[in-house]
């Protein structure tokens, strides 16, 4: 698979002073086209700062970030970079610009100078792919949090980016809104081949991804499949992160001396494993 985003030995600090603490400390990360990546980290771990490096909102002080073959430090490519990597933020209310849903989705395309007929087609496509086509003439404030966040995603999709970086898009949503957004993201990833980088601190969301990266104090701590990363329960807890509830359960059972697998991250697997365990106990 092709590399879509690559950070090489990136260091960054919000304070220019040399002794200021580094928010990103010599971090390297490669994301391949088509991946569904979760970036996990505690508050202040630098995960949002890292995200902002991928579409040139922030530029690395040391090291280099390359997106779709373009260096983010290259100012002439700024708008190409932002079209390649779209960014969705935490609060859906603060990223919707227009008073009508379809006008908001069209905003990026209008900025890019796309002809009107083409805008119309792309806006309809984008709204359909997030399942919000019927709401195209609504006002944003009539929608729920999850719906607003899907509109924000549609506004990015309309640019036809190769990758979307989402900075805690579900943090302000209720459980239903979170489920809606996650479902939308999975579909975009699977059906449209869009690379997704999801910054989150919800473990159950990270468990649904293909790959999990854990960031702590500006450094890359772990990188691997969800079940690999989550089986390192003690290490995760040491950096202030939780593990999915089922993994936690399995970990406790194992510590209590029961022979269970530790790389379990979904409820189905957990139920299966428990049945197996109980079945064995019953026959013995």
């Amino acid at each position: 698979m092709d590399t879509i985003m690559e950070a090489t030995k990136v260091s960054f600090s919000y304070d220019e002073a040399p002794e200021a603490p580094l928010v990103l400390d010599d971090i390297s990360l490669t994301v391949r086209q088509g991946e569904f990546l979760a970036v996990l980290g505690h508050n202040g771990s630098g995960k949002s700062t890292l995200a902002k490096h991928f579409n040139a909102i922030l530029l690395p002080q040391k090291g280099r970030v390359v997106v779709g073959g373009m260096d983010t430090a290259d100012e002439e490519k700024l708008y190409d970079i932002r079209q390649t990597v779209g960014m969705v933020f935490q609060n859906p209310d603060n990223q919707i610009v227009a008073t009508i849903v379809e006008e908001d989705v069209a905003f990026a395309l209008e900025n890019m100078g796309v002809p009107p007929a083409e805008i119309r087609r792309r806006v309809d496509d984008a709204l359909r792919s997030v399942g919000m086509y019927e709401y195209r003439e609504h006002a944003p404030h009539q929608l729920s949090g999850g719906q607003k966040q899907r509109i924000a995603i549609a506004g990015i999709i309309a640019m036809r980016p190769r990758c979307i970086v989402l900075d805690e898009p579900t943090a302000m949503l209720d459980p239903r809104g979170r489920a809606e957004v996650m479902k939308t993201l999975r579909e975009l990833n699977r059906e449209h081949g869009i690379t997704i980088a999801l910054i989150t601190h919800y473990m159950d969301e990270a468990a649904q991804c293909d790959r999990v990266v854990v960031v702590d104090r500006g450094k890359l701590l772990m990188d691997g499949l969800p079940r690999e990363v989550f089986s390192r329960v003690e290490e995760l807890k040491a950096v202030g992160l939780d593990v999915p509830q089922v993994t936690e359960l399995m970990h406790s059972l194992r510590r209590a001396g029961l022979p269970v697998r530790e790389d379990i991250i979904t409820e189905e697997e957990c139920a299966e494993e428990l049945c197996r365990l109980l079945g064995k106990g019953g026959t013995a």
């Binding site: 579409n55 909102i57 708008y79 932002r82 079209q83 779209g86 960014m87 933020f89 609060n91 209310d93 603060n94 990223q95 919707i96 610009v97 227009a98 008073t99 009508i100 379809e102 006008e103 069209a106 905003f107 990026a108 395309l109 209008e110 900025n111 890019m112 100078g113 796309v114 002809p115 009107p116 805008i119 119309r120 806006v123 006002a139 944003p140 404030h141 924000a152 506004g155 990015i156 640019m159």
Partner: protein, 267 residues
């Protein structure tokens, strides 16, 4: 309670008046104002009244709305009417001490009152039948030629759009802050004017702080969507002049011509 505030008093509908191009509607409203001001006699003004009334009927806006739009200007209408009645010279109908009411005075008073009523009712029809977003769009396109003189047309329209977008959000937020302050024992409903004004401070400050934060985040989100000002921007929705628009323009021009003719024929 606070949520009931509506902005722009727009009545959604599909009448021929609603469907007019917003640019044309703004120009029609201006034309109507011109017509009212050049009318010099009762016949000309009557034409204006008929035209305005007809537009209301076609637009299917309830006629009660005319009265509602007039409510804030009633004092002005009464004030000008009284002044005209008292200070216009002419044949005295009734006199007491230095107060004198003349035939010409009454005539002018009624004339002016009808003119103001038509003015307010006519321009209100514009906001009743045009959504704020369409109105903003119309204004932006009408002012487009001013760009040549470095007038920030696009920026102005963008500010209006964002203001319209955030009014409901901020109203909701105000409601939340008020509840939060009430829960901490803030008293917003009793006391004198000064006391109540002071009670608003703990509501306004958090509202301001959060508005600045919102502005910051919105600016970032706009940049991420390649916003770089009005230069090279296209629009999804194009405005088109239809036969209805030309017909409406024709009617208003004919009426203005009619008023001019009436002015000349019936001095």
């Amino acid at each position: 309670m606070i949520k009931d505030i509506t902005i722009g008093q727009y009545f959604p509908g599909r009448s021929p008046v609603h469907r007019l191009d917003p640019r044309v509607k703004i120009l029609l409203a201006l034309g109507y104002i011109v017509l009212l001001f050049i009318a010099q006699n009762a016949w000309g003004l009557a034409l204006g009244v008929v035209l305005g009334f007809g537009a209301y009927v076609i637009s299917q806006i309830p006629l009660v709305m005319i009265l509602k739009s007039l409510k804030p200007v009633v004092p002005i209408i009464i004030f000008t009417a009284v002044l005209n009645m008292l200070f216009v010279d002419g044949e005295a109908l009734w006199q007491w001490w230095i107060i004198k009411i003349t035939r010409e005075g009454i005539h002018t008073a009624v004339f002016m009152a009808v003119r103001i009523i038509c003015l307010i009712a006519g321009t209100s029809l514009l906001t009743y039948t045009t959504s704020p977003i369409a109105l903003t769009d119309g204004i932006e396109r009408l002012m487009n030629p001013l760009k040549r003189f470095h007038f920030p047309v696009h920026e102005l329209a963008m500010m209006m759009t964002i203001a319209l977008r955030f009014i409901p959000t901020l109203i909701e937020e105000t409601d939340k802050i008020m509840s939060a302050q009430k829960a901490r024992g803030a008293d917003l409903e009793t006391g004198g004017l000064m006391q109540r004004a002071r009670a608003l401070i703990p509501i306004l400050i958090p509202l301001f702080v959060s508005s600045f934060r919102r502005a910051d985040e919105l600016a970032l989100a706009m940049e991420c969507r390649c916003y770089r000002g009005g230069e090279g921007r296209t629009r999804m929705k194009q405005l088109h002049m239809g036969p209805g628009d030309f017909a409406a323009c024709g009617i208003i021009l004919a009426c203005i011509a009619g008023v001019v003719a009436l002015n000349l024929l019936l001095p």
